[in-house]
Amino acid sequence: MIRDRLFNKIDFHHENLKKKQSQLLYANEGLNKKIGLAYIPAININIPVDSLGSYTYFKTIKLNEVLFLRKNIANLDDKALFWVRKIYSFLEYRLSSITNRIKINYNNKKDRIIFIQNIITLMLEYYDISKDVRYLSIALKLLRIKSISKLSISDSSTSAQYSYNFLFAYSLTKEL
């Protein structure tokens, strides 16, 4: 495997995830086993979204919609696919300003981190299903942005979802 400054502290992220796994909102047991996270059970919080409306702007989307897409990743209909593609395009197009842009979606930094990290998970899960490597690329680029991975400069504030994404991305890149 090629060395990369992103994939440091693998053990740290396993420990962080084990400690904070109750913070995860959704995790697929089968996928967890496949990517070396068998210690994470199935997690499926109640998502108060039965179906998606029409995609309008990135700034109006909410965490529940992202979780809905993640939950249905294996069976996306045309409308849901459109959502995933539009989110992807927005992320690529606005990557350099994403830290500021998600402030429109969520005021609170903790909520923003949960939101964007679940979007990263969505990109990774879509790559896993579709093998469209562009989605892996955007996820990796986003994972490099430290300000959306943790609440403060301290490693101990690293979010559970970030550690999940880190280990998920690490597993996927090993397969390439």
């Binding site: 994939f7 350099s96 562009r134 955007i138 680029k141 490099r144 890149t173 390439l176």
Partner: protein, 267 residues
Amino acid sequence: MQKKVAIISPNPKSFYSTSVSELLIRNGVKIEVVFIKKFTIGRFKDEFSRDGLRLIKKIWKKLVLKDDAYNRFTEIENILSFREKENINLDNLTELRNKGVDVYFVDDLNNDFVENTLKEKNVDLTVFTGGGLIKKNILDVSGAGVLNCHMGKLPEYRGMDVVEWPLLLKDFENVGFTVHFMDRGVDTGDILEVFDVKLHDNENIKMLRVRFEPLMTNKFVDTIIGFLKGEVKRKKQEEIDGKQYYIIDEYLYRLSDKNLQEFTKSN
């Protein structure tokens, strides 16, 4: 009747822009007007927000190192050796003023001045050698249109880093470049010609990109001449035929380089 073109350029000393311009003149094409994008703080901010640190590397290579950027690549045909071989002497687009060509530095390639000047000049074609997006108002007053040479094979590989993406995907047969008309989409305009670039032994991405430059320069000019003579026809692209790619993540860049080196390793 002599055909007239406009040139759009990001930098008056661009090896690519000056080489294309001189070769067109040698082939009997009249350059009516040249628009060069000014290097301003605003331009730097826009490009930095899109390209990040890559922009700093690009500026270092093109504006600081210049010829020295090719010191490590003397074993392969690069744009400097190509210029020497073809006896291309134009170093700065502003020298074209001595030949009666109007050369303008502009803040915005899509502004009213550019639009009105193109209308007045009534060119047969506009040749794009870099400088950013071109909008509809300019596309509409550029004769047959604005021609670009895209560093990837269309329709499959639209967008950015399209030398790297096929290598990442081990799609080694689809490394090449395309001469196409610009339209409002990203690399979706009518295609004139698609060219393959054959990979050489023991190649890496930096070497490959250096090799692309003279190949693109040469074939771009040939295709422009062919089009102006009516010998090359436009072919429509369907939007659904290709994917748009963006800047490749640095890990995937290194992987694409590794794939290329492994594929081209000679025994």
